[in-house]
């Protein structure tokens, strides 16, 4: 399978300020690739490097095999982009803005109509009068109105209501079915979980993990939520295969890898008011990632399961 995007040692520094550092990843043709991280982690910097808005301080990024910095204009012919904070022209209607963007992308007039109807966007109102959510819809419509083989989406559902988020996911699914590639940057974990095949987690400018979403979710991890009658003693859950994600008074949120027997023994020693054991969602995994000290993705395999306990 061809790699549509490839970043090798990609680094960007703004003077002494950190951007991203030594980032490696590849996005395959036809996959939806999630780029997860909190605000300030370096997601937008990475996207700006991929689009050639920024020159790398080190390493390189290629899109469709072409250098993202030197061949930006050529690359853009095959990319649809939705920025995190696009500056539409307030004096235009959404229709005028979309027609303008369509013309710059070589699309016929009103290419946006079908997607705009699906997202219930009123294209006749001047943009300055639209709500935040409706402005965001313009970006989503713009991203999905063409046939470019690669979509780069930066926080695409910010401000969209749940119904529209669902419609967005349906659009993503259709794009994937058509064999097009999606690079989706977000801090909305459920969205990435539902939309993406693989996910990269970026933390403080460095990639800490690149894995298939199914793999992340389908390992032998279990999420355990406890409501205790009284707070548990400190260190009560210190086991080699258990991580305590949160412990606030009587509530405890744990993750357990592999054999749950030893943990159940510890739990049985307490007075439990309520318990739930579920497959962790990506939010749990993300939380776990962020609690750990920063580690960089490297060639070494991860530690064997259950060999290290974290308080």
């Amino acid at each position: 399978m061809n790699e549509v995007i490839e970043a090798v040692g990609l680094t960007k520094r703004y003077g002494t300020r950190r951007g991203i550092e030594d980032v490696d990843f590849a996005v395959r043709e036809g996959e939806a690739f999630g780029f997860l991280g909190p605000n300030g982690a370096g997601k937008t910097t990475a996207i700006r490097l991929l689009l050639g808005f920024l020159r790398p301080s080190g390493g390189r990024a290629t899109v469709f095999g072409q250098d993202a910095w030197t061949e930006a204009a050529t690359i853009h012919e095959r990319v649809a982009y939705l920025g995190s904070d696009p500056g539409y022209l307030g004096g235009l209607t959404a229709a005028e803005q979309l027609d303008y963007l369509g013309a710059l992308r070589g699309l016929p007039k009103r290419s946006w109509q079908a997607v705009a109807e699906r997202l219930e966007l009123d294209t006749t109102v001047r943009i300055r009068k639209l709500s935040r959510g409706n402005r965001q819809k313009i970006g989503v419509v713009a991203a999905f109105m063409g046939n470019e083989p690669l979509l780069i989406l930066d926080e695409p559902t910010t401000g969209l209501d749940p119904l529209m988020q669902r419609e967005f996911l349906a659009l993503v699914s259709e794009i994937k079915s058509a064999g097009r590639t999606i690079f989706l940057s977000s801090h909305n974990l459920p969205e990435v979980e539902r939309a993406c095949d693989r996910v990269a987690i970026i933390r403080e400018g460095r990639l800490t993990e690149v894995r298939a979403v199914a793999e992340l979710l389908g390992d032998h991890w279990r999420s355990v939520n406890l409501l205790l009658a009284a707070p548990a003693p400190v260190g009560h859950f210190s086991l080699s295969n258990v991580e305590v994600l949160a412990q606030t008074g009587r509530e405890v949120h744990l993750m357990v890898l592999g054999d749950v027997g030893p943990l159940l023994d510890r739990i049985a020693a307490l007075h439990v008011a309520d318990i739930s054991i579920t497959t962790p969602d990506i939010e749990d995994l993300f939380l776990r990632e962020y609690r750990a000290p920063a580690a960089v993705v490297g060639p070494e395999p991860p530690e064997p399961a259950g060999t290290e306990a974290r308080p």
Binding site: L51, F53, H76, G83, D85, P86, A103, L104
Partner: protein, 266 residues
Amino acid sequence: MNAAFGMELRRMRSLVGWTAVASMVYGGIVAGFYPTIRDNQAMIEQYMGLFPKDLLSVFGMEGGLADPGAFFSMYVGGMLWPIVAAVAAIALATRPVAADLEHGFLELVLSTRLSRVRYLGTAIAGQLVAMAVLALATVGGILVVGRVVGSPFDAGRFMLAGIHAFGFGITIAAVTTLLSVLTLDRGRAAGIAAGLVLGMYLLDAASKVWTGIGGVAALSPFQHFQTRPIIDEGVFPIADFLLFVVVATLAWGAALLLFRRRDLAA
């Protein structure tokens, strides 16, 4: 790219339209006053004689005001046009790079097939159109009102003065475009450009009092923007005009080159 240029014209139409109207009205009012000045030449000159000569020369009030070249060079060439040209040039030239980057519009359009050079090139074409419209409106106001009040001015000479004014205006626009690309900050670029225009004006004014600084004062575009010989004698200052064109071309060229290789981060 037609869509980009069409949008450029649309975005600037309000600023250019209203500035053109203001410029035309002001030019017309000045032209409307001209017959009064001409018909009362002796009285006006007696009045002007009360002022120190150096002070009058600072404001370009040299020669008789009944002379159309002196009159319009002072009220339009020396006052109205520098203000109109600076306002329009600074507003237009700081928008496409610095302001559009801050606003988030730049990423939107540059993520399409539109290259950086074509985007800025289109904006520069817009600046040329804007300056031409403003110069034409100013001259047009003078010529139309001149006819109405029974003082038909030489349209050919005034059009030549308009062309020279256009050269002066594009110089400010081009240098401001370069500042906009250098700083990527509308406030800073506009502030520096406005300061430069004011500084150059003061340098030119000072050179009329202290003739010893004439060499340095030659750097001021105001020294090269003299419309009186055009209006009075029909002599077009081709060297000065070419200087404006060369400076503008170099500044815009540098801006385009720099913009191609610039990190776009607000």
